[in-house]
Structures are given as structure tokens and as C-alpha cells.
């Protein structure tokens, strides 16, 4: 029984075979994996899922690979933590953190999408994997390519701080720094992806890669005892994560794993790069590109590929969107650390700061269940908070000095 029918254009509905293609030849709409949900319903159940190892592949039937996964088998199934300390502070009754800051192997939600992309790339016969990234995606691709024994190319802007490149370079990929501005870097990467027979995870493999994000939704539902929360707040860069979480919830309903999927999806962006939230607030699906200027570098996508679709997910689910300033981002990072013991990167700060605002505005009622998606680890963006936290108290090596200076 074929679970995966092929690829389908999200705009005109044209059908394509399961290949390394991502754009409809006729209308230029993005392609998406097209599943046979009736067939999947015969294969999947809560019992089947819970009998499997705790990684993202426990939802194999709803992921776009034909065979069994051979790589990325340690990614996913991150903790869903009941955040009672933070809930008390925010004045809400039921709050959870979906904590992808401890995803394996590179401490961000990108480990999920890359695990799916890499397995699909191998199925499609590629021996080389590539991406264009300034951070988490590059780390995930580099690490998983090393483990899988694939050749790996990572494209970055030439002026990217060296500290950010180390977490990719350690896995020994070919890292290429491209001179000039972001627009030209984007165009060249698109050209390279068109010319070389590589699996470019977020270009020609994008339809498969993006499906990995659904597993956040699957896990949230399973970890809540096969129930959906009333709200999920997610960060938005390309907008893909919000659309795939929504799709994941709807798929669980379609295959009979849950009765309803009425969760409101709200998106969080930094004030310095908020084309999707601007569109939501203006009630228009015309996304106007911006030039990013924010400390939340992992969300700094000025011309988001899935912005239009993220807008519609928010509208269709009755969610909303808000922004956070750089100061609010830092405060939220500190808040999550001191209440729940989780150190998140700037994107997590954006998400919590926005969730807090939506609660204060009454858009998220205080008595409804809320999940905040934390997508990356604070150890990667320490510079954002380095001069905004306390310093150690320095003492002499004797008890008197300790009692005088520390006053325990």
C-alpha cells in the first residue's frame, strides 16, 4: 500500500512524482508531499506509535520516506515540560514548554527537518547534502552528514562571525563564505542548487525537509495524552514551522488519532524582522519583504518563503501574531531560565516574549492550555545576554571573605 502519492502544488494542485523538485513548473507554487490518508489510517494507531523508540520516526507513516530511516534516529521526542513556575508568573493555569533546545544532535529543532531531509536525500540517490545557513540549520546538516558519511557543503555570508561557524566546521563540511550582501548570497545559492546534483535541504529537498517540523505537533499531542492544546505559540522565520505544526494536527485528526484539532496557532517574530506579523495585523496576505535588523538572527528572514501560508494558518486557526523588541527578547530568555531552568537562544526569547504579550492582551485566555515552542539552545547565542546578566562574586580563599562578600 503506497502511503505517499507524490508531490502536489499547493497553489494549482498539479501532481508531480517523488523527486528532488520544489516548485510547480506551471504556476511556481511550492510543492508539498501528498499522502494517502486512507491508507495511512489502516497502518497507524496510538498503540503502534507508542510501541516504537522515542524519536521522531515513531510517526514514520506520516513522514515522507519510503523505507525505514537509517540516519537521524536520535532526533526528536524532546521533553514537553509543564511550566508551573512560569505559569504562575504569567498568571495562566496550564502552560507547557516544548523544549527543542535539547534536541539531538545539535540542540535545535532543525535536527528534525534535517533528519527527514537526509534520509530522503539518500533514498533519492544523492551522496552530497548542502544548505545555506547562518546557524542552526548549518550545524544540523554538518553533524548529520558526518554521521551519515555524506559529502557536505555549507554556504554562509562571508562576514558571518567566526564563533557561529565553529559549530559547523567541527564536523568537517566544506564551508563556503560568500562575499556581498544577503540578496546576492540568496541568488547565488539558488543558482548553485539549480546547477549541481546535490540535495540542497531547504531548496530542492524542501518539500520533504519541511515535513520534519510536523513531528513537533505529533509529539505535543502524544505527550499531552493524545489531546491537543488550545494554543501553540511558535517562532516564525520562513513561516514553515507554523504551517507544518498546523498540518500535523490536522493529519492526526484525518487518520483518526485524535477527535479534534482546533488549536489556535500564534506566531512570534522579532520587531526588527516581522513581515508575517505585519501582514497579520494589517489583515492582508501580501507579505512585504523587509531588511532584518534584530538580535534574533535565526529568525532573520526578510522575504519568507512560506509567509503567505503562515498568515493563512494563523487566520484559519484563529490565532494571532505579535513581535518582541531586542530588550524584550533578552528579558524573556532570562525569565525562562530563572523560572524553568531552560536556557534558550534568541528565537526562544522572541516566542516567550510574544506569548506573554498575547496573554496580557487577552488574545490567549488565562484559563486555556498553552504550549510555547522553544526551538533552540541559548549556548549558541550567548553574546545576546553576556552583558545583561550578573557577574560572579569574587572572594579571597577564606571563610571570612565568603561571609563578608556573599552574605549567604
Amino acid at each position: 500500500m503506497e502511503r505517499i502519492k507524490g508531490l502536489k502544488c499547493r497553489e494549482c494542485g498539479r501532481i508531480y512524482p517523488k523527486e528532488a523538485i520544489h516548485v510547480c513548473e506551471f504556476c511556481f507554487g511550492p510543492l508539498e508531499v501528498d499522502y494517502d490518508y486512507a491508507a495511512i489510517q489502516q497502518l497507524i494507531s496510538q498503540e503502534v506509535i507508542t510501541s516504537r523508540p522515542t524519536n521522531l520516526w515513531r510517526y514514520w507513516e506520516l513522514l515522507p520516506i519510503d523505507g525505514q530511516p537509517v540516519n537521524g534516529t536520535s532526533s526528536g521526542f524532546t521533553p514537553l515540560i509543564r511550566a508551573d513556575n512560569l505559569a504562575r508568573l504569567l498568571g495562566v493555569e496550564e502552560l507547557y514548554i516544548k523544549d527543542d533546545s535539547v534536541n539531538h544532535p545539535t540542540l535545535s529543532f532543525k535536527d528534525r527537518v534535517v533528519a527527514v531531509a537526509l534520509n530522503k536525500a539518500k533514498e533519492l540517490g544523492f551522496d552530497t547534502i548542502a544548505c545555506a545557513s547562518t546557524g542552526n540549520l548549518a550545524n544540523a546538516v554538518s553533524a548529520q552528514a558526518a554521521k551519515a558519511g555524506m559529502k557536505c557543503f555549507v554556504f554562509i555570508p562571508a562576514d558571518l562571525e567566526s564563533g557561529k561557524v565553529i559549530a559547523s566546521l567541527i564536523y568537517n563540511p566544506t564551508v563556503v563564505g560568500i562575499k556581498e550582501n544577503y540578496d546576492q548570497v540568496n541568488r547565488l545559492c539558488s543558482e548553485i542548487a539549480g546547477k549541481y546534483p546535490w540535495a540542497f535541504v531547504n531548496i530542492n529537498i524542501r518539500p520533504y525537509y519541511a515535513e520534519g517540523s510536523k513531528t513537533i505537533a505529533f509529539e505535543i499531542v502524544e505527550q499531552l495524552g493524545w489531546k491537543t492544546p488550545q494554543h501553540i505559540v511558535v517562532p516564525a522565520a520562513s513561516g514553515s514551522l507554523a504551517t507544518k505544526i498546523y498540518k500535523g494536527l490536522k493529519e492526526f485528526q484525518k487518520v483518526g488519532l485524535i477527535d479534534n484539532a482546533e488549536t489556535k496557532i500564534s506566531v512570534a517574530q522579532a520587531q526588527g524582522c516581522c513581515p508575517i506579523v505585519t501582514a497579520i495585523k494589517a489583515a492582508t496576505d501580501a507579505i512585504r519583504p523587509v531588511v532584518p535588523n534584530t538580535i534574533a538572527k535565526s529568525l532573520a528572514i526578510g522575504n519568507p518563503a512560506d509567509g503567505y501560508y503562515a498568515y493563512h494558518v494563523v487566520k484559519d486557526s484563529s490565532g494571532y501574531g505579535e513581535t518582541a523588541t531586542d530588550e524584550e527578547i533578552v528579558e524573556a530568555i532570562k525569565l525562562l531560565a530563572k523560572t524553568e531552568g531552560i536556557f534558550t537562544e534568541t528565537a526562544g526569547g522572541v516566542t516567550l516574549a510574544v506569548a506573554k504579550k498575547l496573554i496580557e492582551q487577552g488574545r490567549i485566555p488565562r484559563n486555556e492550555s498553552i504550549v510555547i515552542c522553544i526551538t533552540g539552545n541559548g549556548l549558541k547565542t550567548q553574546e545576546a545576554v553576556a552583558d545583561k546578566i550578573g557577574k560572579p562574586t569574587i572572594i579571597e580563599p577564606n571563610l571570612a571573605s565568603f561571609e563578608k562578600e556573599v552574605k549567604p
Partner: protein
């Protein structure tokens, strides 16, 4: 020979100009408008350029110099 697909965005100032006509005259590229919407204040277009890669690069550079926002049709490729 190569084909490049691009997304172009025009501001109000550029909307009245015969940009695509001029592009075909100034560079050895075949211009093929695949999708477009031009209003008084704003315009966007999906444009295919067919030609030698060097010539396409020069044509794209010229578009950018005129103040047109030129992107891959996928949007931003570089992710965090």
C-alpha cells in the same frame, strides 16, 4: 546556456518604466514574464531569463542597480 527564474519587486517610482523591454535590448537574454501584477504603487513579477550565465548575471546586476528587488523565486534561501 542557462535559465534563471527570478522574483522582481518594483516600487512606485519604477512602475512606469519599460524595464523588461530595456533589459532585452541591453543584454543578450531572452526575457519571459511568467507571472506578474503591476499596480500604480507597486509591482511584482516572476521573470525567466534565458542566456549565457555571465550575461544573465550582468542583467540581474543591472536590475538591482535600478533599485528593483531581485530575489530567487523561493524567497530567502539563507536560514538561521
Amino acid at each position: 546556456m542557462a535559465i534563471m527564474r527570478l522574483s522582481l519587486r518594483f516600487t512606485k517610482k519604477l512602475v512606469p518604466k519599460p524595464i523588461i523591454y530595456q533589459l532585452g535590448h541591453d543584454f543578450k537574454v531572452v526575457t519571459n514574464i511568467r507571472k506578474a501584477n503591476i499596480d500604480e504603487d507597486l509591482g511584482w513579477m516572476v521573470l525567466e531569463l534565458d542566456g549565457e550565465m555571465d550575461e544573465i548575471d550582468r542583467a540581474v546586476e543591472d536590475l538591482a542597480k535600478q533599485g528593483i528587488k531581485v530575489d530567487p523565486i523561493e524567497g530567502d534561501i539563507v536560514e538561521g
